[in-house]
Protein backbone atom coordinates (compact mmCIF):
# COMPACT_ATOMS: atom_id res chain seq x y z
CA UNK A 1 0.00 0.00 0.00
CA UNK A 2 2.93 2.26 0.68
CA UNK A 3 3.90 2.24 -2.98
CA UNK A 4 0.51 3.54 -3.98
CA UNK A 5 -1.20 6.68 -2.77
CA UNK A 6 -3.92 4.77 -1.00
CA UNK A 7 -4.39 5.08 2.70
CA UNK A 8 -7.39 2.81 2.93
CA UNK A 9 -8.42 -0.14 0.79
CA UNK A 10 -11.41 -2.43 0.96
CA UNK A 11 -12.59 -5.49 -0.94
CA UNK A 12 -15.85 -7.29 -0.44
CA UNK A 13 -16.90 -10.48 -2.16
CA UNK A 14 -19.42 -13.15 -1.33
CA UNK A 15 -17.53 -14.96 1.38
CA UNK A 16 -14.68 -12.62 1.82
CA UNK A 17 -14.16 -9.17 3.20
CA UNK A 18 -10.86 -7.38 3.57
CA UNK A 19 -10.04 -3.91 4.76
CA UNK A 20 -6.56 -2.49 5.08
CA UNK A 21 -5.73 0.88 6.49
CA UNK A 22 -2.31 2.38 6.31
CA UNK A 23 -1.37 4.51 9.28
CA UNK A 24 0.15 7.57 7.66
CA UNK A 25 1.26 8.82 11.05
CA UNK A 26 -0.70 12.04 10.84
CA UNK A 27 -4.24 12.95 11.63
CA UNK A 28 -6.55 12.21 8.74
CA UNK A 29 -6.69 15.41 6.72
CA UNK A 30 -9.92 16.30 5.06
CA UNK A 31 -9.16 15.69 1.42
CA UNK A 32 -11.64 18.25 0.36
CA UNK A 33 -10.31 21.55 1.54
CA UNK A 34 -12.22 23.11 4.42
CA UNK A 35 -15.31 21.13 3.73
CA UNK A 36 -16.76 17.65 3.93
CA UNK A 37 -20.14 17.46 2.24
CA UNK A 38 -22.44 14.52 2.86
CA UNK A 39 -21.42 12.49 -0.18
CA UNK A 40 -24.55 11.08 -1.72
CA UNK A 41 -22.43 9.40 -4.33
CA UNK A 42 -19.27 10.27 -6.13
CA UNK A 43 -18.39 10.45 -9.80
CA UNK A 44 -16.11 8.02 -11.62
CA UNK A 45 -13.32 8.34 -9.05
CA UNK A 46 -15.02 6.15 -6.50
CA UNK A 47 -13.55 5.95 -3.05
CA UNK A 48 -10.26 7.48 -4.04
CA UNK A 49 -9.86 10.86 -2.41
CA UNK A 50 -9.53 13.78 -4.79
CA UNK A 51 -5.93 14.83 -4.22
CA UNK A 52 -5.57 18.40 -3.06
CA UNK A 53 -2.88 20.88 -2.37
CA UNK A 54 -2.45 21.35 1.36
CA UNK A 55 -5.54 23.07 2.72
CA UNK A 56 -4.98 26.81 2.83
CA UNK A 57 -4.68 27.72 6.47
CA UNK A 58 -6.77 30.84 6.90
CA UNK A 59 -9.11 30.51 3.94
CA UNK A 60 -12.62 30.89 5.26
CA UNK A 61 -14.19 27.67 6.34
CA UNK A 62 -17.49 26.64 4.90
CA UNK A 63 -20.66 26.82 6.95
CA UNK A 64 -20.70 23.83 9.28
CA UNK A 65 -22.64 20.86 8.04
CA UNK A 66 -23.32 19.26 11.42
CA UNK A 67 -26.96 19.24 12.29
CA UNK A 68 -27.28 20.49 15.83
CA UNK A 69 -29.96 22.49 17.51
CA UNK A 70 -27.85 25.49 18.56
CA UNK A 71 -28.75 29.10 17.91
CA UNK A 72 -26.13 31.04 15.99
CA UNK A 73 -25.32 34.49 14.74
CA UNK A 74 -24.10 33.93 11.19
CA UNK A 75 -22.21 36.23 8.86
CA UNK A 76 -24.39 38.15 6.37
CA UNK A 77 -21.44 38.92 4.15
CA UNK A 78 -17.92 38.02 3.02
CA UNK A 79 -15.05 39.82 4.73
CA UNK A 80 -12.72 39.96 7.71
CA UNK A 81 -14.11 39.55 11.24
CA UNK A 82 -13.09 41.90 14.04
CA UNK A 83 -14.28 41.76 17.66
CA UNK A 84 -14.04 45.52 18.15
CA UNK A 85 -14.20 48.72 16.12
CA UNK A 86 -10.44 49.23 16.44
CA UNK A 87 -7.48 47.56 18.16
CA UNK A 88 -7.58 50.12 21.02
CA UNK A 89 -11.27 49.65 21.74
CA UNK A 90 -12.73 46.79 23.76
CA UNK A 91 -14.66 43.99 22.12
CA UNK A 92 -18.32 44.69 21.42
CA UNK A 93 -19.41 41.56 23.28
CA UNK A 94 -17.90 38.81 25.40
CA UNK A 95 -19.11 35.44 26.59
CA UNK A 96 -21.94 35.87 29.06
CA UNK A 97 -23.24 39.18 27.66
CA UNK A 98 -26.92 39.49 26.85
CA UNK A 99 -27.71 40.87 23.40
CA UNK A 100 -30.89 42.07 21.74
CA UNK A 101 -31.75 42.16 18.07
CA UNK A 102 -30.09 45.51 17.35
CA UNK A 103 -26.99 45.02 19.51
CA UNK A 104 -23.81 45.38 17.51
CA UNK A 105 -21.78 42.22 18.10
CA UNK A 106 -18.80 42.65 15.78
CA UNK A 107 -17.33 44.31 12.70
CA UNK A 108 -16.93 42.65 9.32
CA UNK A 109 -14.64 44.58 7.06
CA UNK A 110 -15.06 44.34 3.31
CA UNK A 111 -13.21 46.44 0.77
CA UNK A 112 -11.96 48.86 3.40
CA UNK A 113 -15.45 49.49 4.81
CA UNK A 114 -16.10 48.49 8.41
CA UNK A 115 -19.62 47.11 8.71
CA UNK A 116 -21.24 46.90 12.12
CA UNK A 117 -22.99 43.54 12.40
CA UNK A 118 -26.12 43.30 14.55
CA UNK A 119 -27.23 40.23 16.45
CA UNK A 120 -30.69 40.19 14.76
CA UNK A 121 -31.96 38.00 17.60
CA UNK A 122 -31.78 38.14 21.39
CA UNK A 123 -29.95 35.81 23.72
CA UNK A 124 -26.76 35.36 25.74
CA UNK A 125 -23.40 34.98 24.06
CA UNK A 126 -22.33 31.40 24.86
CA UNK A 127 -19.32 31.06 22.59
CA UNK A 128 -17.19 33.01 20.11
CA UNK A 129 -16.57 30.77 17.12
CA UNK A 130 -14.08 32.77 15.05
CA UNK A 131 -10.89 34.66 15.73
CA UNK A 132 -10.19 38.37 15.54
CA UNK A 133 -8.88 39.10 12.04
CA UNK A 134 -10.18 35.87 10.53
CA UNK A 135 -11.66 35.90 7.00
CA UNK A 136 -15.28 34.80 7.07
CA UNK A 137 -17.76 33.85 4.40
CA UNK A 138 -21.49 34.22 3.92
CA UNK A 139 -23.38 32.06 6.40
CA UNK A 140 -20.40 31.34 8.61
CA UNK A 141 -21.20 30.91 12.30
CA UNK A 142 -19.75 33.72 14.38
CA UNK A 143 -21.32 33.36 17.82
CA UNK A 144 -23.35 30.69 19.57
CA UNK A 145 -26.20 31.97 21.70
CA UNK A 146 -27.91 30.36 24.63
Amino acid sequence: MKKSDLSEFGVEEENFKLKIRRDTGKEAQPHIVNYAPAQTSTPATQSEPISQAAPAAQAASIPQAESDSGVYITSPMVGTFYTSSSPENPAYVKVGDTVSADSVVCIIEAMKIMNEIQAEQSGDIAELLVENGQPVEYGQRLFRLS
Partner: protein, 451 residues
Protein backbone atom coordinates in the same frame (compact mmCIF):
# COMPACT_ATOMS: atom_id res chain seq x y z
CA UNK B 1 -0.52 34.63 -11.84
CA UNK B 2 -0.80 32.34 -8.83
CA UNK B 3 -4.45 32.23 -7.87
CA UNK B 4 -7.67 32.75 -9.81
CA UNK B 5 -11.17 33.26 -8.43
CA UNK B 6 -13.86 31.60 -10.52
CA UNK B 7 -16.93 33.83 -10.48
CA UNK B 8 -19.29 31.27 -11.94
CA UNK B 9 -20.75 27.82 -11.44
CA UNK B 10 -21.67 24.57 -13.17
CA UNK B 11 -19.83 23.21 -16.16
CA UNK B 12 -17.91 26.39 -17.04
CA UNK B 13 -16.56 26.71 -13.51
CA UNK B 14 -15.30 23.14 -13.77
CA UNK B 15 -13.78 23.95 -17.15
CA UNK B 16 -11.87 26.87 -15.65
CA UNK B 17 -10.65 24.79 -12.70
CA UNK B 18 -9.24 22.27 -15.17
CA UNK B 19 -7.41 24.91 -17.22
CA UNK B 20 -5.94 26.49 -14.07
CA UNK B 21 -4.80 23.07 -12.85
CA UNK B 22 -2.92 22.47 -16.07
CA UNK B 23 -1.26 25.86 -15.78
CA UNK B 24 -0.27 25.27 -12.15
CA UNK B 25 -2.54 28.06 -10.91
CA UNK B 26 -4.50 27.76 -7.67
CA UNK B 27 -8.26 28.10 -7.81
CA UNK B 28 -10.81 29.70 -5.52
CA UNK B 29 -14.44 28.75 -6.08
CA UNK B 30 -17.12 31.14 -4.85
CA UNK B 31 -20.50 29.52 -4.56
CA UNK B 32 -24.05 29.91 -3.34
CA UNK B 33 -25.67 27.79 -0.65
CA UNK B 34 -27.44 25.85 -3.42
CA UNK B 35 -24.11 24.80 -4.93
CA UNK B 36 -22.47 23.36 -1.81
CA UNK B 37 -22.32 19.91 -3.43
CA UNK B 38 -21.20 21.17 -6.81
CA UNK B 39 -18.31 19.33 -8.41
CA UNK B 40 -16.10 22.37 -9.08
CA UNK B 41 -16.49 23.53 -5.47
CA UNK B 42 -15.11 20.21 -4.33
CA UNK B 43 -12.27 20.20 -6.85
CA UNK B 44 -11.08 23.79 -6.40
CA UNK B 45 -8.21 24.45 -4.00
CA UNK B 46 -10.28 26.82 -1.90
CA UNK B 47 -13.95 27.66 -1.68
CA UNK B 48 -15.90 30.53 -0.15
CA UNK B 49 -19.65 30.75 0.23
CA UNK B 50 -20.95 34.09 -1.02
CA UNK B 51 -24.67 33.93 -0.40
CA UNK B 52 -28.08 32.40 -0.77
CA UNK B 53 -29.34 30.30 -3.67
CA UNK B 54 -30.78 33.06 -5.86
CA UNK B 55 -28.32 34.53 -8.37
CA UNK B 56 -28.93 38.09 -7.20
CA UNK B 57 -28.00 36.89 -3.71
CA UNK B 58 -24.75 35.26 -4.76
CA UNK B 59 -23.29 35.03 -8.28
CA UNK B 60 -24.40 38.56 -9.14
CA UNK B 61 -23.10 40.04 -5.89
CA UNK B 62 -20.04 41.84 -7.18
CA UNK B 63 -19.29 43.19 -3.69
CA UNK B 64 -19.12 39.75 -2.12
CA UNK B 65 -17.12 38.32 -4.96
CA UNK B 66 -14.54 41.07 -4.71
CA UNK B 67 -14.48 40.69 -0.92
CA UNK B 68 -13.76 37.01 -1.35
CA UNK B 69 -11.04 37.86 -3.86
CA UNK B 70 -9.43 40.19 -1.34
CA UNK B 71 -9.51 37.94 1.69
CA UNK B 72 -8.16 35.02 -0.32
CA UNK B 73 -5.59 37.24 -2.02
CA UNK B 74 -6.30 36.25 -5.63
CA UNK B 75 -4.52 37.69 -8.64
CA UNK B 76 -7.33 37.44 -11.13
CA UNK B 77 -11.02 36.71 -11.55
CA UNK B 78 -12.40 34.58 -14.36
CA UNK B 79 -16.06 35.52 -14.91
CA UNK B 80 -17.02 32.60 -17.19
CA UNK B 81 -20.12 33.37 -19.27
CA UNK B 82 -23.39 34.94 -18.14
CA UNK B 83 -23.64 36.42 -14.62
CA UNK B 84 -21.06 39.25 -14.44
CA UNK B 85 -19.01 38.24 -17.49
CA UNK B 86 -20.17 41.19 -19.60
CA UNK B 87 -20.77 43.60 -16.73
CA UNK B 88 -18.52 46.59 -17.42
CA UNK B 89 -19.00 47.94 -13.89
CA UNK B 90 -17.72 44.69 -12.43
CA UNK B 91 -14.69 44.72 -14.72
CA UNK B 92 -14.04 48.29 -13.61
CA UNK B 93 -14.33 47.37 -9.92
CA UNK B 94 -11.78 44.61 -10.42
CA UNK B 95 -9.46 47.06 -12.13
CA UNK B 96 -9.72 49.56 -9.29
CA UNK B 97 -9.10 46.83 -6.69
CA UNK B 98 -5.98 45.74 -8.58
CA UNK B 99 -7.45 42.37 -9.46
CA UNK B 100 -7.02 41.30 -13.08
CA UNK B 101 -10.36 40.72 -14.80
CA UNK B 102 -9.79 37.87 -17.26
CA UNK B 103 -11.39 39.45 -20.27
CA UNK B 104 -11.41 42.78 -22.10
CA UNK B 105 -11.38 46.22 -20.53
CA UNK B 106 -14.53 47.80 -19.12
CA UNK B 107 -14.43 50.21 -22.06
CA UNK B 108 -14.41 47.43 -24.64
CA UNK B 109 -17.29 45.71 -22.85
CA UNK B 110 -19.31 48.92 -22.84
CA UNK B 111 -18.58 49.70 -26.46
CA UNK B 112 -19.62 46.28 -27.73
CA UNK B 113 -22.45 45.97 -25.21
CA UNK B 114 -24.37 48.79 -26.83
CA UNK B 115 -25.60 47.22 -30.07
CA UNK B 116 -25.89 50.52 -31.93
CA UNK B 117 -22.40 51.68 -30.88
CA UNK B 118 -20.97 48.25 -31.71
CA UNK B 119 -22.46 48.34 -35.18
CA UNK B 120 -21.16 51.84 -35.74
CA UNK B 121 -17.66 50.90 -34.49
CA UNK B 122 -17.25 47.91 -36.80
CA UNK B 123 -18.82 49.61 -39.80
CA UNK B 124 -16.09 52.26 -39.61
CA UNK B 125 -13.46 49.56 -40.24
CA UNK B 126 -15.22 48.09 -43.21
CA UNK B 127 -17.12 45.24 -41.59
CA UNK B 128 -20.41 44.67 -43.46
CA UNK B 129 -23.45 45.49 -41.36
CA UNK B 130 -27.17 45.12 -41.97
CA UNK B 131 -28.60 48.22 -43.60
CA UNK B 132 -30.60 50.29 -41.18
CA UNK B 133 -30.49 53.25 -38.85
CA UNK B 134 -27.25 55.02 -37.99
CA UNK B 135 -28.06 54.99 -34.31
CA UNK B 136 -30.93 55.22 -31.90
CA UNK B 137 -34.32 56.06 -33.41
CA UNK B 138 -36.32 58.57 -31.43
CA UNK B 139 -39.57 58.76 -33.31
CA UNK B 140 -42.08 56.60 -35.14
CA UNK B 141 -41.80 58.81 -38.22
CA UNK B 142 -38.05 58.46 -38.41
CA UNK B 143 -38.49 54.70 -38.03
CA UNK B 144 -40.76 54.52 -41.05
CA UNK B 145 -38.38 56.67 -43.11
CA UNK B 146 -35.46 54.33 -42.42
CA UNK B 147 -37.57 51.23 -42.95
CA UNK B 148 -38.78 52.33 -46.36
CA UNK B 149 -35.22 53.15 -47.47
CA UNK B 150 -33.76 49.76 -46.46
CA UNK B 151 -36.91 47.90 -47.40
CA UNK B 152 -39.27 45.68 -45.42
CA UNK B 153 -39.21 43.44 -43.51
CA UNK B 154 -37.20 45.18 -40.79
CA UNK B 155 -36.12 44.25 -37.28
CA UNK B 156 -36.53 46.69 -34.36
CA UNK B 157 -33.78 46.01 -31.85
CA UNK B 158 -33.03 47.21 -28.34
CA UNK B 159 -29.56 48.76 -28.00
CA UNK B 160 -29.27 47.18 -24.56
CA UNK B 161 -30.50 43.82 -25.72
CA UNK B 162 -28.58 40.87 -27.03
CA UNK B 163 -28.59 37.09 -27.03
CA UNK B 164 -31.81 37.14 -28.99
CA UNK B 165 -33.73 39.34 -26.57
CA UNK B 166 -35.35 42.67 -27.29
CA UNK B 167 -36.22 42.23 -30.97
CA UNK B 168 -39.42 42.73 -32.96
CA UNK B 169 -40.11 42.21 -36.67
CA UNK B 170 -42.25 44.50 -38.80
CA UNK B 171 -43.35 43.54 -42.30
CA UNK B 172 -44.98 46.81 -43.33
CA UNK B 173 -45.46 50.40 -42.22
CA UNK B 174 -48.62 49.73 -40.18
CA UNK B 175 -47.04 47.01 -38.09
CA UNK B 176 -43.84 49.07 -37.80
CA UNK B 177 -45.73 52.00 -36.26
CA UNK B 178 -47.19 49.66 -33.65
CA UNK B 179 -44.14 47.48 -33.02
CA UNK B 180 -41.89 50.51 -32.59
CA UNK B 181 -43.69 51.47 -29.37
CA UNK B 182 -44.09 47.89 -28.16
CA UNK B 183 -40.37 47.29 -28.62
CA UNK B 184 -39.47 50.47 -26.72
CA UNK B 185 -41.70 49.54 -23.79
CA UNK B 186 -40.40 45.99 -23.64
CA UNK B 187 -36.82 47.18 -23.77
CA UNK B 188 -37.41 49.72 -21.02
CA UNK B 189 -38.89 46.99 -18.82
CA UNK B 190 -36.35 44.32 -19.58
CA UNK B 191 -33.09 46.30 -19.81
CA UNK B 192 -33.88 49.63 -18.20
CA UNK B 193 -33.12 51.28 -21.52
CA UNK B 194 -35.86 51.82 -24.09
CA UNK B 195 -33.59 52.93 -26.94
CA UNK B 196 -34.06 51.01 -30.18
CA UNK B 197 -32.59 50.99 -33.67
CA UNK B 198 -33.69 49.39 -36.93
CA UNK B 199 -32.04 46.85 -39.21
CA UNK B 200 -32.99 45.18 -42.43
CA UNK B 201 -34.33 41.77 -41.50
CA UNK B 202 -32.54 38.92 -43.22
CA UNK B 203 -34.78 35.97 -43.99
CA UNK B 204 -33.67 32.50 -42.86
CA UNK B 205 -30.02 33.34 -42.35
CA UNK B 206 -27.35 31.06 -40.99
CA UNK B 207 -25.84 32.11 -37.68
CA UNK B 208 -22.07 31.93 -38.16
CA UNK B 209 -19.76 33.27 -35.49
CA UNK B 210 -15.98 33.71 -35.47
CA UNK B 211 -13.71 33.06 -32.50
CA UNK B 212 -10.95 35.60 -32.00
CA UNK B 213 -8.03 35.92 -29.63
CA UNK B 214 -6.35 39.26 -28.91
CA UNK B 215 -3.33 39.70 -26.62
CA UNK B 216 -1.88 42.70 -24.83
CA UNK B 217 0.78 43.10 -27.53
CA UNK B 218 -1.45 43.95 -30.47
CA UNK B 219 -1.76 40.45 -31.91
CA UNK B 220 -5.25 39.51 -33.04
CA UNK B 221 -6.07 36.22 -34.77
CA UNK B 222 -9.19 34.26 -35.58
CA UNK B 223 -9.74 30.54 -34.99
CA UNK B 224 -12.42 29.97 -37.56
CA UNK B 225 -16.15 29.85 -37.36
CA UNK B 226 -18.91 28.02 -35.56
CA UNK B 227 -22.30 27.44 -37.15
CA UNK B 228 -25.01 27.87 -34.51
CA UNK B 229 -28.08 27.89 -36.74
CA UNK B 230 -29.89 25.20 -34.75
CA UNK B 231 -31.67 27.49 -32.30
CA UNK B 232 -35.02 27.48 -30.61
CA UNK B 233 -36.21 30.96 -29.64
CA UNK B 234 -32.67 32.21 -30.04
CA UNK B 235 -31.31 29.63 -27.60
CA UNK B 236 -28.67 27.45 -29.25
CA UNK B 237 -29.17 23.71 -29.13
CA UNK B 238 -26.49 22.34 -31.44
CA UNK B 239 -23.32 24.00 -32.70
CA UNK B 240 -20.67 22.80 -35.14
CA UNK B 241 -17.35 23.79 -36.61
CA UNK B 242 -16.52 24.35 -39.40
CA UNK B 243 -19.80 25.54 -40.91
CA UNK B 244 -20.99 23.27 -43.73
CA UNK B 245 -21.86 26.44 -45.66
CA UNK B 246 -18.55 28.31 -45.45
CA UNK B 247 -15.82 27.68 -48.04
CA UNK B 248 -12.16 28.68 -47.48
CA UNK B 249 -12.50 31.99 -49.41
CA UNK B 250 -15.54 33.11 -47.43
CA UNK B 251 -13.80 32.01 -44.24
CA UNK B 252 -10.80 34.17 -45.04
CA UNK B 253 -12.99 37.23 -45.74
CA UNK B 254 -15.16 36.76 -42.67
CA UNK B 255 -12.13 36.00 -40.53
CA UNK B 256 -10.49 39.21 -41.63
CA UNK B 257 -13.66 41.14 -40.83
CA UNK B 258 -13.78 39.52 -37.39
CA UNK B 259 -10.17 40.47 -36.66
CA UNK B 260 -10.81 44.04 -37.81
CA UNK B 261 -13.86 44.27 -35.58
CA UNK B 262 -11.87 43.05 -32.58
CA UNK B 263 -9.15 45.62 -33.25
CA UNK B 264 -11.72 48.39 -33.56
CA UNK B 265 -13.06 47.38 -30.16
CA UNK B 266 -9.56 47.57 -28.67
CA UNK B 267 -10.13 44.05 -27.49
CA UNK B 268 -8.14 41.81 -25.16
CA UNK B 269 -8.77 38.12 -24.56
CA UNK B 270 -11.13 35.66 -26.18
CA UNK B 271 -14.15 37.07 -28.00
CA UNK B 272 -16.70 36.12 -30.61
CA UNK B 273 -18.01 38.09 -33.58
CA UNK B 274 -21.47 36.94 -34.64
CA UNK B 275 -22.56 37.23 -38.26
CA UNK B 276 -25.68 36.40 -40.22
CA UNK B 277 -25.06 34.77 -43.60
CA UNK B 278 -27.75 34.73 -46.30
CA UNK B 279 -28.23 32.34 -49.21
CA UNK B 280 -26.15 34.52 -51.49
CA UNK B 281 -23.19 34.08 -49.13
CA UNK B 282 -23.31 37.70 -48.03
CA UNK B 283 -22.44 38.19 -44.38
CA UNK B 284 -23.53 40.89 -41.95
CA UNK B 285 -22.28 41.79 -38.46
CA UNK B 286 -24.80 40.93 -35.78
CA UNK B 287 -23.02 41.54 -32.46
CA UNK B 288 -19.81 40.91 -30.56
CA UNK B 289 -19.74 38.78 -27.43
CA UNK B 290 -17.02 40.01 -25.11
CA UNK B 291 -16.62 36.76 -23.17
CA UNK B 292 -15.88 33.07 -23.63
CA UNK B 293 -18.89 31.31 -25.14
CA UNK B 294 -20.70 28.15 -24.13
CA UNK B 295 -19.84 26.48 -27.44
CA UNK B 296 -16.11 27.18 -27.32
CA UNK B 297 -15.24 23.43 -27.22
CA UNK B 298 -16.03 22.85 -30.88
CA UNK B 299 -13.37 25.39 -31.84
CA UNK B 300 -10.96 23.74 -29.41
CA UNK B 301 -11.43 20.31 -30.96
CA UNK B 302 -11.14 21.58 -34.52
CA UNK B 303 -8.01 23.71 -33.97
CA UNK B 304 -6.39 22.02 -30.96
CA UNK B 305 -6.19 25.38 -29.13
CA UNK B 306 -7.24 25.50 -25.44
CA UNK B 307 -9.23 28.71 -25.31
CA UNK B 308 -9.56 28.97 -21.53
CA UNK B 309 -5.81 28.57 -21.10
CA UNK B 310 -5.33 31.22 -23.78
CA UNK B 311 -7.59 33.58 -21.84
CA UNK B 312 -5.50 33.10 -18.72
CA UNK B 313 -2.18 33.38 -20.56
CA UNK B 314 -3.29 36.54 -22.34
CA UNK B 315 -4.46 38.03 -19.05
CA UNK B 316 -1.03 37.21 -17.59
CA UNK B 317 0.57 39.34 -20.28
CA UNK B 318 1.79 36.52 -22.50
CA UNK B 319 1.78 37.07 -26.26
CA UNK B 320 -0.19 34.53 -28.31
CA UNK B 321 2.35 31.80 -29.03
CA UNK B 322 1.27 31.11 -32.60
CA UNK B 323 0.32 33.05 -35.73
CA UNK B 324 -2.72 33.09 -38.00
CA UNK B 325 -0.90 30.79 -40.43
CA UNK B 326 -0.35 28.22 -37.68
CA UNK B 327 -4.10 27.84 -37.15
CA UNK B 328 -5.35 24.63 -38.75
CA UNK B 329 -8.83 23.22 -39.04
CA UNK B 330 -8.11 19.53 -38.80
CA UNK B 331 -11.38 18.06 -37.66
CA UNK B 332 -15.08 18.54 -37.73
CA UNK B 333 -16.77 18.94 -34.33
CA UNK B 334 -20.37 19.04 -33.18
CA UNK B 335 -21.72 20.01 -29.76
CA UNK B 336 -25.10 19.27 -28.20
CA UNK B 337 -26.15 21.30 -25.16
CA UNK B 338 -27.72 18.75 -22.85
CA UNK B 339 -30.33 20.57 -20.79
CA UNK B 340 -32.57 19.33 -18.01
CA UNK B 341 -35.74 20.16 -19.95
CA UNK B 342 -38.60 18.11 -21.31
CA UNK B 343 -38.73 18.67 -25.08
CA UNK B 344 -42.07 16.89 -25.34
CA UNK B 345 -43.62 19.33 -22.88
CA UNK B 346 -42.52 22.60 -24.41
CA UNK B 347 -39.08 22.41 -22.84
CA UNK B 348 -40.33 22.83 -19.30
CA UNK B 349 -37.34 22.77 -16.91
CA UNK B 350 -36.76 19.49 -15.11
CA UNK B 351 -34.56 20.05 -12.04
CA UNK B 352 -34.09 17.25 -9.54
CA UNK B 353 -31.79 14.40 -8.58
CA UNK B 354 -29.84 12.44 -11.17
CA UNK B 355 -30.03 8.99 -9.63
CA UNK B 356 -28.18 7.16 -12.37
CA UNK B 357 -25.52 8.74 -14.54
CA UNK B 358 -23.38 7.10 -17.18
CA UNK B 359 -21.23 9.33 -19.37
CA UNK B 360 -20.42 8.41 -22.98
CA UNK B 361 -16.81 8.02 -24.00
CA UNK B 362 -14.49 6.58 -26.57
CA UNK B 363 -12.62 7.93 -29.54
CA UNK B 364 -13.65 11.42 -30.55
CA UNK B 365 -15.98 12.06 -27.61
CA UNK B 366 -15.65 14.91 -25.11
CA UNK B 367 -18.05 15.70 -22.28
CA UNK B 368 -17.93 19.01 -20.39
CA UNK B 369 -20.25 18.43 -17.48
CA UNK B 370 -20.40 19.00 -13.75
CA UNK B 371 -23.03 16.31 -13.30
CA UNK B 372 -22.53 13.02 -11.46
CA UNK B 373 -24.66 10.21 -10.06
CA UNK B 374 -26.55 11.59 -7.08
CA UNK B 375 -26.15 15.22 -8.11
CA UNK B 376 -29.18 17.38 -7.52
CA UNK B 377 -29.75 19.95 -10.25
CA UNK B 378 -30.79 23.11 -8.42
CA UNK B 379 -33.82 25.01 -9.74
CA UNK B 380 -32.26 28.46 -9.39
CA UNK B 381 -30.02 28.62 -12.45
CA UNK B 382 -29.92 27.53 -16.06
CA UNK B 383 -30.90 23.98 -16.90
CA UNK B 384 -27.64 22.90 -18.49
CA UNK B 385 -26.42 19.47 -17.45
CA UNK B 386 -23.43 19.51 -19.75
CA UNK B 387 -22.09 19.79 -23.25
CA UNK B 388 -21.47 16.71 -25.34
CA UNK B 389 -18.93 17.24 -28.10
CA UNK B 390 -17.90 14.75 -30.77
CA UNK B 391 -15.30 15.23 -33.42
CA UNK B 392 -13.82 13.33 -36.33
CA UNK B 393 -12.01 13.65 -39.60
CA UNK B 394 -15.22 14.45 -41.48
CA UNK B 395 -18.61 15.91 -40.66
CA UNK B 396 -20.24 12.52 -41.26
CA UNK B 397 -17.99 10.85 -38.71
CA UNK B 398 -18.73 13.59 -36.17
CA UNK B 399 -22.48 13.12 -36.73
CA UNK B 400 -22.37 9.34 -36.45
CA UNK B 401 -20.24 9.62 -33.36
CA UNK B 402 -22.70 12.10 -31.81
CA UNK B 403 -25.57 9.70 -32.44
CA UNK B 404 -23.59 6.88 -30.84
CA UNK B 405 -22.58 9.02 -27.84
CA UNK B 406 -26.10 10.39 -27.27
CA UNK B 407 -27.37 6.81 -27.31
CA UNK B 408 -24.88 5.75 -24.64
CA UNK B 409 -25.50 8.73 -22.37
CA UNK B 410 -27.69 7.81 -19.39
CA UNK B 411 -29.14 10.56 -17.19
CA UNK B 412 -31.90 9.08 -15.10
CA UNK B 413 -34.13 11.06 -12.76
CA UNK B 414 -34.61 14.18 -14.86
CA UNK B 415 -35.87 14.84 -18.37
CA UNK B 416 -33.26 15.88 -20.90
CA UNK B 417 -33.02 17.19 -24.44
CA UNK B 418 -31.11 14.06 -25.57
CA UNK B 419 -34.01 12.47 -27.48
CA UNK B 420 -34.63 15.73 -29.34
CA UNK B 421 -30.97 16.14 -30.29
CA UNK B 422 -30.78 12.55 -31.54
CA UNK B 423 -33.77 13.30 -33.76
CA UNK B 424 -32.24 16.54 -35.06
CA UNK B 425 -28.92 15.00 -36.07
CA UNK B 426 -30.79 12.20 -37.82
CA UNK B 427 -32.75 14.71 -39.86
CA UNK B 428 -31.88 14.67 -43.58
CA UNK B 429 -31.79 18.46 -43.85
CA UNK B 430 -29.35 18.72 -40.97
CA UNK B 431 -27.22 15.92 -42.34
CA UNK B 432 -27.10 17.62 -45.72
CA UNK B 433 -25.76 20.75 -44.03
CA UNK B 434 -28.71 22.80 -45.20
CA UNK B 435 -30.06 23.99 -41.84
CA UNK B 436 -30.59 27.71 -41.36
CA UNK B 437 -31.99 29.53 -38.31
CA UNK B 438 -35.44 28.60 -39.62
CA UNK B 439 -34.68 24.92 -39.12
CA UNK B 440 -35.92 24.36 -35.55
CA UNK B 441 -39.28 25.99 -36.00
CA UNK B 442 -39.89 23.95 -39.13
CA UNK B 443 -38.57 20.76 -37.47
CA UNK B 444 -40.82 21.09 -34.41
CA UNK B 445 -43.84 21.83 -36.60
CA UNK B 446 -43.36 18.53 -38.36
CA UNK B 447 -43.96 17.01 -34.90
CA UNK B 448 -41.16 14.50 -35.10
CA UNK B 449 -41.36 11.39 -32.98
CA UNK B 450 -38.81 11.14 -30.23
CA UNK B 451 -39.01 9.20 -27.01
Amino acid sequence: MQKVLIANRGEIALRIVRACRELGIKTLAVYSEADVESLHVQLADEAICIGGPQSFESYLRADRIISAAEIADVDAIHPGYGFLAENADFAEQCESCNIKFIGPSANAIRKMGDKAVAKDTVQKVGVPVCGGSDGVIESEDRATKIASSVGYPVMIKAVAGGGGKGMRIAHNEISLRKEFHVARNEAEKAFGNGDVFIEKFIENPRHVEFQILADQHGNVIHLGERDCSIQRRHQKLIEEAPSPFIDPQLRARMGEAAVNAARAADYEGAGTIEFLVNDQREFFFLEMNTRIQVEHPVTEEVTGVDLIKQQILIASGEPIAFTQNDVQFNYHAIECRINAEDPSRNFIPSPGCIDLYYAPGGHGVRLDSHAYGGYIIPPYYDSMIGKLITYGRTRDVAIQRMYRALSEYIIRGVKTTIPLQKAIISDPKFQAGKATTAFMEDFLERKPKFD
